[in-house]
């Protein structure tokens, strides 16, 4: 990606763009949850309990936030081997999160709450589905950084890409916590 260094280096333009993008993504989920609130206030709302496996996915994504932070620290300390291990672990935990969410979906399906069932269930599939897509986007970003870390030709000690990825990773984590609390309270 072609970038020009900022002329007055306060904050890296990529980080800045990321913060704006996160605001944008937040608006998207605010729209989803507002639609949920509006719909819930109307008749025919079916309340049900969220699959318990979502608590496991919460633990996984929280752990992955920790590992990516540690990985960033190792990178800055030039412990490249440890950094690679932690980065891999983060991606695996992220994938584990997505798998747990998927298992949650199948459990809902088995409880007779399919996608085209009650609107309350449809919302869960769509909102959490969009969230999983954002987590997978983060995993793709990690994979790119990972590929660069194993490249023998390029040696880069620029922490910006990893910092950007870490910030985004914490963001999807926080977004999940928000969704979990929201969906638990506004059932």
């Amino acid at each position: 990606m072609v970038t020009m260094s900022a002329q007055r280096n306060k904050i890296h333009p990529h980080k800045y763009s990321l913060w704006i993008a996160m605001g944008s993504i937040t608006m998207m989920f605010v729209a989803f949850t507002s639609a949920y609130v509006v719909k819930r206030a109307q008749a025919n709302w079916t309340a049900f309990e969220l699959p318990h496996i979502f608590w496991l996915s919460t633990a996984l994504i929280l752990a992955s936030s920790l590992t990516i932070q540690l990985s960033l620290k190792q990178f800055k300390d030039r412990n490249i081997a440890r950094y690679k291990q932690l980065l891999t672990l983060t991606a695996i935990l992220g994938l584990g999160f997505a798998v747990c969410q998927y298992i949650g979906f199948t459990q809902m399906y088995d409880r007779n709450l399919p996608l085209n069932g009650p609107v309350s269930a449809s919302f869960i599939y769509v909102i959490l589905g969009m969230h999983i897509l954002h987590v997978l986007g983060g995993i793709v970003a990690l994979a790119v950084i990972f590929a660069k870390a194993y490249s023998t030709t390029i040696k880069s000690y620029n922490p910006v890409p990893l910092e950007v990825a870490a910030t985004y990773w914490h963001f999807v984590d926080a977004l999940w916590i928000y969704l979990l609390i929201f969906l638990t309270l506004a059932r």
Binding site: T3, S5, K10, S17, M27, A31, F32, A35
Partner: protein
């Protein structure tokens, strides 16, 4: 990637191989390393990307305007037949008369194309890209790559929307707002089939393009300003692009959410928007949905969208009026403050589009109050434009004329907004021609005037040539007079209760009286359409054959873009980026015609 090397080398103050002969038309002296593809197609240069946006926008504008001519033929001459229509539209115009299905498709596509593809992408994409780096003093955008992606997502969106015009069942035809259930049920109408899917895909791509662009605009304005360019020294055009981008970043994702839910309703059997429906005598299984929910999500974008369209025009007009009346802009901070107020209010008024949906009257009155509040910042802006040109030494260039025209249409279209913002009056006027007249004048015509003003004013910077003035004056007067002749009578039709979107008014006893008026409006539409083609001819002719620009600063303007070479290369300034010492509106100060932003403040200078 040669650009990267060039740009980075310039940061060290070393001049890379620069391209000084952009758009020379002669093409001698090819001492640069850009290939045709990297220079004209997958360009990373914000100036070339701006021109790509403009070209795509012009093509869309011609198509969108042509559609309005076609459906105006039906409205103005409901009994006549035009055999040539059948030869171009085939079974959509059997016997030379546009079919009802084609009519709705044309109306829907006219709205979609003009609102999104021309006045959002074409206007903001062009001028934000072109002017932000040039006026804040940056080599390029914060991320030129993302900027390029933004254009190509727009191009993809355009291709998908274009292809929907050619599918057998026709493009989307449920109105540019795509309300469910018409948009959610494939069997509801012929235009709800594949055309609607293509519409949704195209809009999703469009939203991605818009977000990528806006991210860049914000990031560039906040981070990449040259030395001395504090926020309060920025030209008002930059402020307007900034606020536009903020609006886009916060409101487009909401439309995306609404569209995603709609896609699920269409294809996955969910019932977000659907309930208690019968299609062709059969009851649908969908239960528990609410069509009004979509309207909330849509108008949460839809209302900020009209400011996304009008704010860049406001900013450019402020700039052009100050330059051409040789006076500082009146009330710079009030201008910035009023734009900020508009941005805040933009998010708080969406339900005024929904007064007749069964909205709680108490809630309605809150939205009335907030809507009417928008009149305050709008009036401040109008006052400041008028006081800027007041007793000015006005140069009536085509750009200045279009800017003055903008102020005129913004006033006359804005005043009717106060009518419609009142829920009690809106109940009578809702979905009538009064609404058509209101938003076409205040948003459509005004934004187009701002866009034309911008093109005429910055054409010399874009192509190193001037546009032809005589054609430009004809273009302006025909468009201004024509716009009023087209839309003014629609107010009367609307007050008489004539609903919008009807196919044929001659069969209605109440609206028969307007047959002659409709006839007149349609005739003017055709004339104005040809006047726009004059502009297109002027644009392309001047690009290659126009009078060459020989001085760096042809308008005597203070802003940074005129300190670049006549045909700036990628990186904009061959040497160091100039430093800024003053605000951009030092015109006729201390007896000096204008003082560029790059001139240091003198010891005995008066304060502005």
């Amino acid at each position: 990637m040669s650009n990267e090397a060039t740009l980075h080398s310039q940061h060290e103050g070393v001049h890379g191989a620069m391209t000084h002969d952009h758009h020379d038309g002669h093409g001698h002296d090819h001492h640069h390393e850009d290939s045709f593809i990297s220079k004209y197609i997958f360009s990373l240069d914000h100036k070339m990307i701006a021109k790509q946006y403009l070209l795509t926008g012009i093509i869309w504008a011609i198509i969108g305007a042509l559609f309005s001519v076609l459906f105006r033929l039906q409205l103005g001459y409901p009994d006549a037949t035009f055999p040539w229509l059948e030869s171009i539209l085939g079974h959509w115009a059997k016997g030379g008369r546009i079919s009802p299905e084609a009519y709705y498709a044309l109306v829907t596509m006219h709205g979609t194309i003009l609102v999104f593809f021309v006045l959002t992408a074409g206007l903001t994409g062009t001028f934000s890209n072109f002017l932000i780096p040039l006026q804040v003093g940056a080599r390029d955008m914060a991320s030129p790559f993302m900027n390029m992606l933004s254009y190509w997502f727009f191009f993809l969106a355009s291709m998908v929307m274009m292809s929907s015009l050619f599918v057998q069942t026709g493009p989307a035809s449920g109105g540019w707002t795509s309300y469910p259930p018409l948009s959610a049920l494939g069997d509801a109408s012929i235009g709800s089939k594949i055309g609607m899917d293509l519409w949704l895909i195209s809009m999703a791509l469009f939203i991605v393009s818009s977000l990528l662009g806006s991210l860049n605009y914000i990031s560039t304005i906040l981070n990449m300003r040259t030395k001395g360019m504090s926020m309060t020294k920025m030209p008002l055009s930059i402020w307007s692009f900034f606020f536009t981008a903020v609006l886009g970043v916060l409101s487009f994702p909401v439309l995306l959410s609404g569209a995603i839910l709609l896609l699920f309703d269409r294809h996955a059997g969910t019932s977000f928007y659907l309930s208690d429906l019968f299609v062709a005598g059969k009851a649908l299984p969908n239960e528990g949905g609410s069509a009004i929910l979509y309207q909330h999500l849509f108008w949460f974008l839809g209302h900020p969208e009209v400011y996304i369209i009008i704010l860049p025009a406001m900013g450019m007009v402020s700039e052009i009026l100050a330059v051409n009346s040789r006076k500082p802009i009146f009330g710079y901070l009030a201008m910035v403050g009023s734009m900020f107020a508009i941005v805040i209010l933009a998010f708080l008024v969406w339900a005024h589009h929904m007064f007749v949906t069964g909205l709680n009257p108490f809630l309605g009155s809150v939205f009335v109050l907030l809507t009417l509040l928008i009149a305050v910042p709008s009036a401040i802006k109008v006052f400041n434009w008028l006081t800027t040109i007041w007793k000015g030494n006005i140069r009536f260039t085509p750009a200045a004329l279009f800017s003055i025209g903008f102020v005129s249409t913004f006033i006359s279209g804005g005043l009717t907004g106060i009518w419609l913002g009142n829920s009690s009056i809106d109940i009578h006027l809702h979905d009538t021609y009064f609404v058509i007249a209101h938003f076409h004048i205040v948003m459509g015509v005004s934004a187009f005037f701002g866009m034309f003003a911008g093109i005429y004013h910055w054409f010399p910077k874009m192509f190193g040539r001037y546009m032809n003035n005589t054609i430009a004056y004809i273009h302006f007067y025909v468009t201004l007079v024509g716009a009023y002749l087209i839309f003014w009578p629609m107010h009367y039709e609307g007050m008489a209760g004539m609903p919008r979107r009807y196919y044929d008014y001659s069969t209605w006893e109440s609206f028969k009286q307007f047959a002659e008026l409709n006839h007149f409006i349609s005739s003017v539409v055709i004339i104005v359409f040809f006047a726009q083609l004059l502009f297109v001819v002027n644009y392309f002719y001047s690009m290659y054959k126009g009078r060459k620009v020989t001085e760096l600063n042809p308008w005597g303007a203070t802003t940074l873009e005129w300190s670049t070479p006549i045909n700036p290369g990628h990186g904009n300034w061959p040497g160091e980026i100039p430093e800024v010492h003053r605000w951009p509106y030092d015109y006729s100060k201390d007896g000096v015609d204008f003082i560029p932003q790059t001139t240091p403040v003198g010891a005995h200078e008066s304060k502005h």
